[in-house]
């Protein structure tokens, strides 16, 4: 399991697939999800295979999620905000 080496920063909360996730203020959604043990963020549009954050710097697009109903958002590029409702991107949502 991932661990945090320090306790610095204010905690904010958002939901992922309905589960409450604690994030440090200022960190990205992808970092908060990985810290919470959630490594699967989307399904491949081709095979439906599970994918998760790979590069953490906006290059690979594997961390695409749906945020408050808007699909195709890069979880590694978006700072977690209190109350966000985040869901995995399903295979059929990509063309939306």
């Amino acid at each position: 399991m991932p661990q945090r080496i320090d306790g610095s920063g204010e905690t904010i909360r958002f939901t992922f697939e309905g589960r409450e996730i604690a994030a440090r203020a200022g960190e990205t959604l992808a970092a908060a999800l990985i810290a919470a043990g959630e490594t699967t963020t989307r399904a491949s549009v081709v095979s439906g295979a599970p994918r998760g954050p790979y590069c953490m710097m906006g290059v690979c697009f594997e961390c695409l999620v749906e945020i408050d109903g808007v699909p195709n958002r890069q979880a590694c590029m978006i700072v977690a905000e209190p109350g966000m409702s985040v869901n995995r991107q399903k295979a059929d949502e990509v063309a939306a």
Partner: protein
């Protein structure tokens, strides 16, 4: 539309240093960067990391605070969270920030978008839990996240640096699986004498390896045939080393085969590129001041060829000096800086020889997925070549390789290498994907707001 003497894309060491130097020469300067805070990947979150985290990340990371401080004090305009999605030949830059698009014009454009990690296609590399080594570092820098079971796989200085940082944090990697063949050490040794002017890098390298040994981290050398096992998430990494097949259970595998220039913007602008055999990557063709074949377009930092953070900072300054000189402004002394850049680069031939990408990565098995977005295998690419596809753009049309959301960033170099090998030519001849706008997908609502801030012409 707003216009600037200099628009810099990227706020890593090169972008920040270039902005500071340009401002001190009196040039109006705008910096656009995708991240919420300056630093690039190497100095990610340098402004907000506390003393403890900085100490664990090491002295070189701390250097970023000086560069970021100077940048903040420079007077450069800075838009964080800005995603550049098009640049045209008149150097008009379209970017999205705060949910809408904006346009600016640049007299000179500085591409300071640095490097990305080389694609590392291997069985299982798309499983959740598999990341780049860079991603492991980013999680550490931004969030203090470490994994007790991470296995670092591949080759390159970053592998050893990440291991050293994790050890310092009290969470050493479970193992290092290094792909450097034994024969490489002999080849690299030839460059040792010439690397001595940059002895600090060599000393740092040896210190990192000593720290790994002292911490008792198992290091499996000369590993080949690496595969990641798992049904829906990574469960283990397997490889051949020491004459037998080995298996390490882990949910976190971090891959690395060196970094390569991020070519998206220079390709979009049709800058000339060349394939560098030593770096095993495409580099934009630049002059001694890092100006590309397109007048007024410069590349500062690793985007012009991998040189590291220190070199990136110096190259950023050099580019700004050249722009100032061309604009008839007082410019700093470039000759001394050029000499320092050359001295700093003395270690590169050794590193490039020792840490050249492994044969397995350059020539993946037919069944290995190369284009992650569209799930195209190496075998399918070779088949398309056999059917007559002459290059990457035709393979793209045949198979959709490079047409997914990452737009070829993750597979481009691998696809060029596979085609080149299949045709018995050099990647230089094969060339690369054509890159078109938008550079990154954007919402229609972001596009719809473009130009809305300007007075509309009366409709008559």
């Amino acid at each position: 539309m707003n216009g600037y003497d200099v628009v810099i894309v990227g706020a890593g060491p090169a972008g920040m240093a270039c902005a500071s130097e340009a401002c001190s020469a009196g040039l109006s300067t705008l910096v656009l960067d995708e991240q919420p805070r300056p630093g690039g990947q190497i100095f990610r979150d340098i402004e907000v990391s506390d003393r403890k985290r900085r100490a664990l990340l090491g002295k070189d990371y701390g250097e970023g605070a000086r560069i970021a401080g100077a940048f903040r004090a420079s007077g450069a305009e800075y838009v964080p969270g800005a995603v550049v999605w098009n640049i045209d030949s008149a150097k008009r830059i379209d970017y999205s920030a705060g949910g809408r698009s904006h346009s600016v014009e640049a007299k000179s454009l500085v591409v300071a978008t640095g490097a990305i990690e080389r694609p590392t296609p291997m069985p299982g590399w798309t499983l959740p839990g598999v990341t780049t080594v860079g991603a492991v570092q980013i999680l550490f820098k931004t969030s203090g996240i470490v994994f007790e079971d991470v296995v670092l796989v591949g080759s390159g200085p970053l592998l050893w640096l990440a291991a050293t940082q994790l050890i310092a944090a009290g969470s050493p990697p479970k193992a290092i699986v290094e792909t450097v063949p034994k024969a490489r050490y002999r080849e690299a040794a030839r460059h040792f004498g010439k690397a001595l002017p940059a002895w600090r890098y060599l000393a740092k390298g040896f210190a990192m390896m000593r720290a790994v040994k002292k911490a008792g981290v198992p290091v499996h050398r000369d590993a080949t045939d690496i595969a990641i096992e798992g049904e829906t998430v990574a469960a283990a990494v397997t490889f051949a080393a020491g004459g037998r097949r080995q298996r390490i259970e882990t949910a976190h595998v971090a891959l690395h085969q060196g970094v390569v220039p991020n070519q998206q913007i220079t390709r979009l602008l049709n800058c000339q590129h060349r394939f560098d055999e030593s770096q095993r990557a495409f580099l934009p063709v630049v002059d001694e001041s890092f100006e590309t074949s397109v007048p007024g377009v410069f590349v500062a930092g690793d985007g012009a060829g991998i040189g590291g953070a220190k070199s990136a900072e110096m190259r950023g300054r050099l580019v700004a000096m050249r722009i100032a000189e061309k604009a008839g402004r007082p410019a700093g002394e470039a000759a001394k800086l050029r000499a320092e850049i050359a001295k700093d680069a003395a270690v590169r031939p050794l590193l490039e020889a020792l840490y050249a990408p492994s044969a397995d990565i350059l020539s993946p098995a037919d069944t290995t997925m190369v284009c992650r977005c569209e799930e195209i295998t190496a075998g399918q690419i070779r088949e398309a070549v056999a059917l007559g596809a002459p290059g990457p753009n035709q393979v793209k049309s045949f198979l959709r390789a490079g047409m997914g959301p990452c737009q070829g960033r993750m597979c481009g170099l691998a696809v060029s290498e596979i085609i080149a090998a299949a045709k018995g030519e050099t990647p230089s001849t094969t060339d690369y994907y054509r890159i078109r706008p938008p550079l990154k997908p954007l919402l229609l609502s972001e596009l719809a707001g473009l130009g809305a801030e300007e007075p509309r012409e009366a409709a008559e």
